[in-house]
Symmetry: C2
Subunit: 330 residues, 2 copies
DNA sequence: TTGAAAGCGCTACCAT
DNA sequence: ATGGTAGCGCTTTCAA
């Protein structure tokens, strides 16, 4: 392996000089610089980032933790696109990314990241308090994305789930659906809680409500959607619309409704939340609420870099607006 | 930050001793060991992996390069699940993962990985020759997954695309579809080439062929499927089945066919390839050829570890069988 | 069993 | 503008 010492010898200068021109710090005579650069290229030199990080205390690595309760992890319909944006934006800024998936509550993943001397971290979804504490103690800047709980003194990027759900309900009402069933994701999660609250708020603002037998709380997976849609459509008092608080459950519901030989939206309307990639590809195309996942990831990265560069402008909380996307299922 | 020196002081031993017990190398008195361990825990010590890597020449990091020509990168319907398996399996083995996306042909991504002193690499899909050379020169073990081209002296994991497509054609024939249209992905890619060849072989074995006006070569994206399905269904001589050489194009075709008011499979049958997550959720559910993406990722990892541990058993080439999954679209 | 010392490849400080 | 030197945190000889 070629080191700066090899270059120093070949170029007839000291390794300090080589380091200076290669790292761009300090000045030197133009011709010295050129010579070093030339030799470095000839020898096919590649800096050892570990050695560099040892002394600069900057690894150039950003850690990303995705807490998954369900498969898939990386290819997740919601978090996948966020990761996409994170990877793209981080790369642009010259950082590398260490991705860890962890479903433990041990904070094990974050310790691994710390050991790798990451410069900063982005934490998606479910973030145990304990894990946060670790980063705070070690003074590692981090940004939460779509976090389950509010964490004080942390920066986070979330979607406006309350208003999104509010608008969703208003959309259904505007289409004259009034007997609405609601399939929720787990209410421990901030976003599902807010969606539920926002949806109800809109309904009651117009004098409607969701009957208790038209409510279900699931686990956010497709199978949940299938299961509850079946239950609802077996009821004597059938809903005229089903709202699922994420697209995967809506898609599950759609499977069941097809299976039962009913038509969407004629027999029952269907609406989801998230606008995952496939929402527009279902048949009929799914009406849903768009969450700007790309923006979430991108903002997380720029926020983190602001933190890293000490340009934190104190805006802890970023709430992205969501938007109702009307397609064919309502 | 707590270092082994802090522990050494607190435990009243030398840092060599601390290193020995913490890294598990060398022996020492039981009580010394316990004391060191205790102190390390008390001080909340975390090893600095960079420092360790500097001397051991093992970073504990595996690099993964995904060459993407299209969005999404990470959340890709085909490569996403492979990445999932890679992440999961690598973690089990105690390695961390550095993921890089790159659409350049510069080999830039691999240089970055090399600079991070990765122990090994997994390269997905499109892999420029030049990039391979870099790893070979530096003597970094690597495994190719679903690689575009055959690369001599490299380990790779691919799917049996030829046979998969052969079986696909046989399936269509068995359902008495004979006027089959074929939408291909880019033929520079090994898998699309083999799918095309396998499909044709089966057809001609039974005395059929694909008419030239029933052939199209696209870019593997959904839009391509939409476009060509439209063309085919406008033809005077309509196909009775459309085979798309990946699911995304098939799903695109499905959109168009719905849009044109035709029924699948009554008016035209439809079949894809890959069995992406969403294939079973289309309406009607898509008949396709399953590629075991999870296994591909898993095998890549175990192969790489065999290489890393010097247990290479010389099996350069791993071809996974694929399987026709009959659903409702044929 | 343990400690002292060297050194991984690099940067940064202090001289010159 | 350049070189010498110290040192980042760790492992690994080599002695004791």
């Amino acid at each position: 392996m070629v080191t700066i010492i090899d270059i120093a010898k070949a170029a007839g200068v000291s390794k300090s000089t080589v380091s200076r021109v290669l790292s761009g710090n300090g000045s030197c005579k133009k011709e010295t610089k050129e010579k070093v650069l030339k030799v470095a290229k000839e020898l096919n030199y590649k800096p050892n980032r570990l050695a560099r990080a040892m002394v600069t205390k900057k690894s150039g690595i950003i850690g990303v933790i995705i807490y998954r309760k369900h498969m898939p992890i990386i290819a997740h319909p919601f978090y996948g696109p966020i990761l996409d944006a994170i990877v793209t934006e981080t790369k642009k800024a010259g950082y590398s990314i260490l991705i860890l998936a962890d479903d433990e509550v041990t904070g094990e993943a974050s310790i691994e990241l710390l050991e790798h001397q990451i410069d900063g971290a982005i934490l998606l979804s479910r973030v145990p308090e304990q894990l946060i504490t670790i980063f705070q103690e070690q003074n590692i800047p981090f940004v939460l994305v779509n976090n389950t709980n509010m964490v004080k003194n942390s920066n986070y990027i979330v979607n406006d789930d309350y208003l999104g759900a509010y608008d969703a309900a208003m959309h259904l009402l505007s289409k004259h659906y009034t007997k609405i069933a609601y399939i929720s994701g787990p209410l421990e999660h901030r976003s599902y809680r807010l969606r539920w609250e926002g949806f109800q708020a809109a309904l009651s603002a117009k004098g409607y409500e969701i009957k208790h037998y038209h409510r279900a709380i699931g686990d956010s997976k497709m199978e949940t959607g299938m299961e509850y849609a079946y239950k609802f459509m077996q009821l004597e008092e059938r809903p005229d619309a089903i709202f699922a608080s994420n697209d995967m459950m809506a898609i599950g519901a759609m499977q069941t409704i097809h299976f039962m030989g009913m038509k969407i939206p004629d027999d029952v309307a269907l609406m989801g939340f998230d606008d995952i990639e496939f929402a527009k590809l279902t048949f009929p195309a799914l009406t849903t609420v768009r969450v700007d996942k790309k923006k979430m990831g991108g903002l997380a990265v720029s926020k983190l870099f602001a933190l890293l560069n000490g340009e934190d402008f104190g805006m802890k909380k970023t709430i992205l607006p969501s938007e109702v996307i009307v397609r064919k299922s309502t």
